[in-house]
């Protein structure tokens, strides 16, 4: 009987080319994933104030105890963290994760994670086959796109994939029919660091943070892993039973009679959702729903045209609206542009900000040949593959406006003399730390608060699917809500453990600044830090608040999280225990940001978020709200964030977290309560411990 852990973490020192093992037991208290990665980073990164491209930067690539197991929407997710290259005024120590099968092979190879330190003296890729780890020459790969890189590594590691291949040196050395799982950066990722991603398989990406450039700065092109072992869990029968129990909450578990209820759901969503993002069969041909390891939701698709494989959401949507505007309907340009961002290892979120910014600059008549922003890019052909190819190559090859964009979009705007105007009116849509405006802080307040109180665009849809997409679609399509706003609020608040408050999801004009909403934000930061980012529960599957197949619309959170985790680890962790580990991780991360220079004064939005002068959503932004003594679904699109109330909210939040309200720095008592006394010592040493 096992507990889901492989038992060791791989440490690769690229400078010395030494391979070491770290016992996982040293870090098991953090769960896995981000928590474990941050704890390892704390120990191994000697100077946490370095820039992301400094050899002293440490990157951790972590699985979790549930990696490679039957836990749905979790088995195949891998968490990555390091000091990033994207961000303003500072690229923070940050994180991202990706789906697919990398974490499965990492576990089956016998590793719970990888810590990469130093910088190689020549280009390398890391080749992991079970317990054998080697550094291979990557000289010929550094300028290669991500797909070609992976195909070459697949061939190199195991040749033909169609039959069993022996990967060890003996009969019992291990055999596999599987392709190695590879994580790689795109071509010349060092030249355009803030815009880079890491790619695994066709379309799984660690998009934000500029981690492709971090790889490149270490002379590291890729990490490949092939595992021929496996993983044991604590309660095999319990895991299978829990999986079958949870299937009743999934579309596929109700496939005989799915009776679809309009909405955007987590576990209850239908397979192949990415088809809609990519233009569907018209743009791609016949499709299959495609899943990450062990996931019943199968969000992604693969196509008969080979376009758009495994792309979804942001890269899939990168060209869709332009395609409609140009051609009146989706064409194969939409999936081909998605493929382009994946092949070139570029961050589609930043590309989408560039897209919207260029559109705004065209309206202002300041971009084009001979204009203020002098470019020969075919900006009159936005929506075409030709435009995106030209833009991508300008960034990669450092031509035209590529070098300016590659500094980061805030920095480019500064150089072009456009920062004050374009950031103030929302033309440059960067809502938090220089990250692309994703969901709107003015409406989806938890998204905004969580992002500026953290390190990046949070990209966490726990409330978003239910409280925005579902409710707004009901309004847009004229659907009579199958549950009332009061019932929705009741379901969600009862699933928030110690942060439960009847007003948790009051998105009214006053509610988003309230004490109850501070609890909501705190729950979100702590829940996601542990359950999503450390255990690996996928953002598109968990948390399961409202579910169309659940009794009276109740999803499986928090029972699901607890049942699955304990079936794997046998640890007896309660839901609340997990939230508390999340709070501990959140405070450790915050300590690192403080060492990097974080202060309360920096935790603000750009001008357009406050003054409500920026572009608003063209469609309703309907959310649950408590107005005049009643719960209603209300369109909250027409509002900005009030500066004074925002500051009051921050004070409420800091107080709730046990942080100094003047600085936003954690106090010693808070850190010691979380068994982080050594962190308090460090902050005190540099004069940045919060006042009691």
């Amino acid at each position: 009987m096992g507990n889901g852990y492989a038992g060791k973490i791989l440490k690769v020192d690229l400078t010395t080319r030494q391979i070491e093992e770290i016992p996982t037991s040293k870090y098991e208290e953090w769960g896995g994933g981000h928590g474990m990665g941050s704890a390892v980073f704390w120990d191994l990164c000697e100077d946490k104030t370095v820039t992301g491209d400094d050899p002293k930067n440490v990157m951790t690539i972590m699985g979790s105890p549930v990696s490679g197991t039957l836990v749905p929407g979790a088995s195949g997710r891998t968490e990555v963290q390091a000091i990033g290259l994207l961000g303003y005024p500072h690229p923070w120590y940050t994180r991202g994760n990706f789906g697919g099968r990398f974490s499965v092979h990492l576990k089956y190879a016998g590793w719970d994670g990888i810590a990469i330190v130093g910088k190689a003296d020549a280009p390398v890729w890391i080749n992991i086959v079970d317990d054998k780890v080697t550094l291979e020459d990557a000289t010929d790969l550094m300028d290669m796109d991500t797909w070609k890189t992976q195909e070459l590594i697949w061939d190199d590691v195991r040749g033909s994939q169609s039959d069993w291949s022996a990967v060890g040196g003996s009969r019992d050395g291990g055999r596999s029919t599987q392709l190695p799982a590879v994580l790689t950066c795109g071509p010349k990722a060092g030249t355009c660091g803030p815009l880079t991603a890491l790619i695994h398989d066709a379309g799984n990406a660690v998009g934000n943070a500029g981690f492709g450039g971090v790889f490149y700065s270490k002379n590291l092109k890729a990490v490949s892993v092939l595992g021929t072992g496996g993983v044991e869990v604590a309660d095999t029968a319990g895991l299978i039973e829990t999986r079958k129990w949870s299937a009743a909450y999934a579309w596929t578990g109700n496939a005989e009679d799915p009776t679809p209820v309009t909405g955007s759901w987590q576990q209850g969503a239908s397979p192949g959702q990415a088809a809609g993002h990519l233009g569907g069969t018209v743009a791609m041909g016949d499709l299959r729903a495609n899943a990450c390891a062990a996931c019943p939701r199968s969000c992604k698709v693969r196509s008969s045209s080979g376009f758009g494989n495994e792309s979804m959401c942001v890269e899939a949507l990168l060209n869709l609206s332009l395609d409609y505007a140009t051609n009146g309907a989706p064409t194969d340009a939409t999936p081909r542009v998605a493929d382009m961002s994946n092949r070139y290892g570029l961050n589609a979120y930043q590309l989408s900000a560039i897209r919207d910014w260029i559109k705004a600059l065209i309206k202002k008549d300041v971009i084009g040949p001979g204009k203020q922003i002098d470019t020969q890019l075919p900006i009159d052909k936005m929506g075409s593959v030709e435009f995106w190819e030209a833009l991508s190559m300008a960034i990669i090859d450092q031509t035209d406006i590529g070098p300016d964009l590659s500094m980061g979009l805030v920095q480019a705007a500064e150089k072009w003399g456009r920062l004050p105007e374009d950031l103030a009116d929302g033309s440059l849509p960067l809502a938090y730390w220089g990250y692309t405006h994703h969901y709107d802080p003015r409406t989806e307040a938890e998204w905004g608060w969580g992002s500026i109180l953290g390190d990046r665009d949070i990209n966490e849809h726990d409330f978003n699917f239910t409280c925005y997409w579902t409710t707004s679609n009901w309004a847009l399509l004229g659907v009579t809500p199958p549950i009332t706003a009061e019932r929705m609020a009741e379901i969600i608040s009862k699933k928030m453990g110690p942060y439960s408050d009847p007003m948790n999801v009051d998105y009214s004009d006053e509610g988003i600044y309230s004490e109850a909403f501070a609890k909501t934000v705190a729950w979100h930061r702590h829940y996601t830090r542990f359950y999503k980012q450390s255990i690996g529960l996928c953002d598109w599957y968990w948390a399961d608040f409202v579910n169309p197949y659940g009794p009276d619309f109740e999803g499986i959170t928090p029972e699901g999280e607890q049942k699955f985790l304990n079936a794997v680890t046998g640890g007896g962790l309660s839901y609340e225990d997990g939230l508390e580990v999340g709070r501990r991780i959140w405070n450790l991360d915050r300590a690192i940001w403080i060492m990097q220079g974080r202060h309360r004064d920096m935790e603000v939005f750009p001008e357009y978020i406050y003054d409500s002068v920026g572009v608003k959503a063209a469609t309703p932004y309907v959310m649950p709200a408590f107005v005049d003594g009643n719960w209603i679904y209300k369109d909250v699109n027409d509002r900005g964030i009030d500066r004074d109330k925002a500051e009051e909210f921050k004070t409420r939040f800091y107080t709730l977290e046990g942080w100094d309200v003047e600085t936003g720095w954690p106090t010693r008592s808070t850190l010691e309560e979380l068994d982080l006394g050594y962190v308090a010592d460090k902050l005190e040493e540099i004069g940045k411990l919060g006042a009691a």
Partner: protein, 231 residues
């Protein structure tokens, strides 16, 4: 990536596929008037092996590549999730074109099982107590791997268990010490039970085969058609 990459001939003047599809003679296990014929003399006078009383059917176009079946298979048999110990193998090319991006490699429980024929010790046999499913008795396996070589399919549906040091294959879950369910041809199969896409099913009828493998469509006429995945 299709299922027609069979290996060479049996060595008896007839190909495996011809043999198994009954083209070259009266295939064992074929359905005659509703009765399953479980053994008779073949043209080359080889004593036939009784037909399996169950088969897995897979719809590769419905498979999402999630590999839940592989994890479930190894979990119920071996007590660990382990791709290399899974008796059903899902291989895929993430950059490939549908439907050739995924290949589901399940044991066919061949009417004439070369793996059984090749075994010199009788370890690989038709299990009469479990509906004649072709299976391996680990105690008799000497590790010669002839069964692995003999399997006409790629990847071989016979596999080497590097932990227990014996060959193994799909037994339709007849022997699943880590599962509470009754398995085998008369019971449940973990891959069928756990596949979220319902892309694997079980039948007691000898499947219809073509040169591309079984012709299985588990999508048409189901809610799958609501998903808009076909042009």
């Amino acid at each position: 990536m299709v299922d027609n990459d069979t290996k060479d001939v049996v060595g008896q003047g007839i190909s495996r596929r011809q043999f198994m599809t009954g083209v070259g003679g009266a295939g064992v296990g074929m359905v005659l008037g509703g009765l399953v014929v479980k053994g008779f003399i073949l043209p080359d006078e080889v004593l036939a092996i009784p037909a399996s009383e169950g088969y897995l059917l897979v719809d590769t176009k419905k498979c999402s590549g999630c590999t839940t079946c592989m994890m479930a298979c190894s979990l119920v048999h071996e007590g660990r999730s382990d791709y290399s110990l899974s008796r059903i193998q899902i291989t895929q090319n993430p950059m490939g074109r549908f439907p050739d991006d995924i290949f589901m490699a399940q044991c066919r429980q061949c009417p004439y099982p070369p793996c059984v024929e090749a075994c010199p010790t009788g370890a690989n046999h038709a299990d009469a107590e479990n509906g004649n499913v072709r299976t391996v008795d680990p105690a008799k396996c000497i590790g010669c791997e002839r069964c692995i070589q003999a399997c006409p399919y790629t990847p071989s549906r016979m596999q080497w268990n590097a932990i227990d040091k014996n060959a193994q294959k799909c037994d339709l879950c007849a022997n699943t010490p880590y599962w509470d369910e009754e398995g085998g041809p008369g019971g449940k199969q973990a891959c069928v039970e756990m596949c979220p896409m319902h892309a694997i099913t079980f039948t007691t009828q000898t499947p219809v085969q073509s040169t591309d493998g079984y012709e299985v469509d588990l999508r048409t006429g189901t809610s799958w058609e609501l998903l808009g995945l076909s042009a």
